[in-house]
Amino acid sequence: MTEPLLSTHGLKAHYGDFQALFGVDIDIKQGETIAIIGANGAGKSTLMRAITGLLKNEPDAIKLRGESIGDLSAPEVLERGISMVPEGRRLFPSLTVEENLLIGAHTRTGNGVWNLASVYEVVPVLKDRRDHPGTALSGGQQQMVAIGRALMSNPDLLLCDELSLGLAPVVIKEIYASFPTIKERGASVVVVEQDIGQAMKVADRVFCMMEGRVTLEGTPEELSREEIHNAYFGVSA
């Protein structure tokens, strides 16, 4: 069996005295897209923060290609090839669109195909508005800047936290239209979503979380609507 690109083993996370994750086990294979679904407060974003080093953990709780990375800082995790599109986009207001993209490659450019030109090729509107402040764009365009910024480091694993939050359905569709291109160019992707339908469309496998635990795992084809409902809400349909 091939070693997963990333795996978590009994991952726990705390905010002070409050425990947000209770022993989460997931694994992501090379080239795979997985979706993590769950209601508000299920622990999805906490899981992303733990993987990216924003929340410190036990070293062995997270492994990247077998290397323990659970106790690394966010810059150290990025250096190893994991980048994230954070919830709420979190563009830098003082930076233009182009500067927001460039800062994604500030310390790591990787060996992949993503650079300013290839991001502009996938999202031409960003080139037209490259000198505008990043936060002056529409919500959908800001989300594309945030995705482009994360791609600029040519990550092996791209984490996308709540891409569709606060966006119109048509905009969400446009954003997800760029995913096949991202996958083709080699990155494995984790999508955290509350929009179950969208998650099922893009994912090879789905993990459902509730109250800090993984309650369901499977491919979109394997999982029935009723199983997802039960795992998502913790009640019988």
Binding site: L54, A74, M84, P86, S94, A150
Partner: protein, 287 residues
């Protein structure tokens, strides 16, 4: 003509105040830290220039070049070993720590250099003047003002045109998210404070050539610097130059009416600007 002469003298004096303030403005712009020891660090830089100049028998204009890396290292070390540990959501710890640092620097300088007044001797340039039509200006004040414009210009270029400046601004915006870009905020802060200390060293050069200095001069320099930064708008580098010039002109005008009013006039100008524009003249939009 006397009024024009007074205004020009005030503008040139404002250049010195802008130099006092440039480092303070940079540090505030990057990490929202009000460094109450800034004036004392300017005094420290003046003593460093003096010591190098005396030990190696160098002009202050040469000694300052050797002082740059020393003061950069002082700034970098202070930020790394002390200030980074107190930065956070609560603004009180950094204020208290920099206040304590101010006391430590003053007493340290007093112990090493005594309370005797010192001066940087730059030779003939101190008394040379330049005739600009009917107006005569001193070469040193003119050089001070030109230096302040160059320092502000250079800091502005670093802040808005370089990769380092991009990291400064992004870290100032969101010190957590920059970690996801591979940037270590504490390193960025240390470099910013190092650069601020280089600017403070240039201020110290002209301060030491213009007037006597001793270990206790820091707090008054901090006051002028602080007023210039506030008048200009927190975090705005060109605003800091404007703030320095406004204080300088107000002092020169006050002194032309009555020499006893010089210092008071600068403070009154500060209060008036605050009343009219509480966020300063050119505040950064995000502040």
């Amino acid at each position: 003509m006397i009024l024009v002469d007074t205004l020009i003298q005030g503008i040139l004096l404002g250049g010195l105040y802008a130099l006092f303030a440039a480092g303070l403005s940079l540090v505030f712009g990057v990490m929202r830290l009000v460094n109450l020891a800034h004036g004392d660090l300017i005094a420290l830089a003046a003593f460093v220039i003096l010591s190098i100049g005396t030990a190696l028998n160098l002009s202050p204009f040469v000694a300052v070049i050797l002082a740059f890396p020393i003061m950069f290292a002082v700034g970098w070390g202070l930020q790394t070993c002390l200030l980074n540990h107190v930065l956070g959501d609560d603004i009180l710890p950094p204020l208290l720590v920099t206040f304590g640092l101010s006391v430590v620097i003053q007493n340290g300088l007093l112990e090493i250099f005594t309370a005797d007044s010192q001066k940087l001797t730059a030779g003939a340039i101190e008394v040379q003047s330049l005739a600009l039509g009917p107006i005569t200006v001193g070469v040193t004040p003119l050089l001070t003002f030109v230096s302040s414009v160059l320092v502000i210009f250079a800091l502005n270029q670093i802040f808005y045109r370089t990769r380092l400046g991009r990291a400064f601004r992004a870290t100032s915006d969101d010190s957590e998210t920059v970690g996801l870009m591979g940037i270590r905020p504490n390193n960025v802060f240390a470099v910013a404070t190092g650069i601020a200390m280089v600017a403070a060293t240039i201020a110290a050069l002209y301060l030491g050539i213009r007037a006597n200095f001793d270990p206790s001069i820091g707090p008054a320099r901090l006051l002028y610097a602080f007023e210039a930064v506030i008048i200009g708008g927190l975090g705005s580098l060109w605003g800091t130059l404007a703030g320095g010039v406004i204080i300088g002109v107000a002092q020169a005008l006050g002194a032309s009416i009555n020499p006893e009013w010089q210092i008071l006039s600068g403070h009154i100008a500060f209060v008036v600007v605050l009343l009219v524009r509480p966020r300063g003249l050119f505040p950064r939009s995000k502040d």
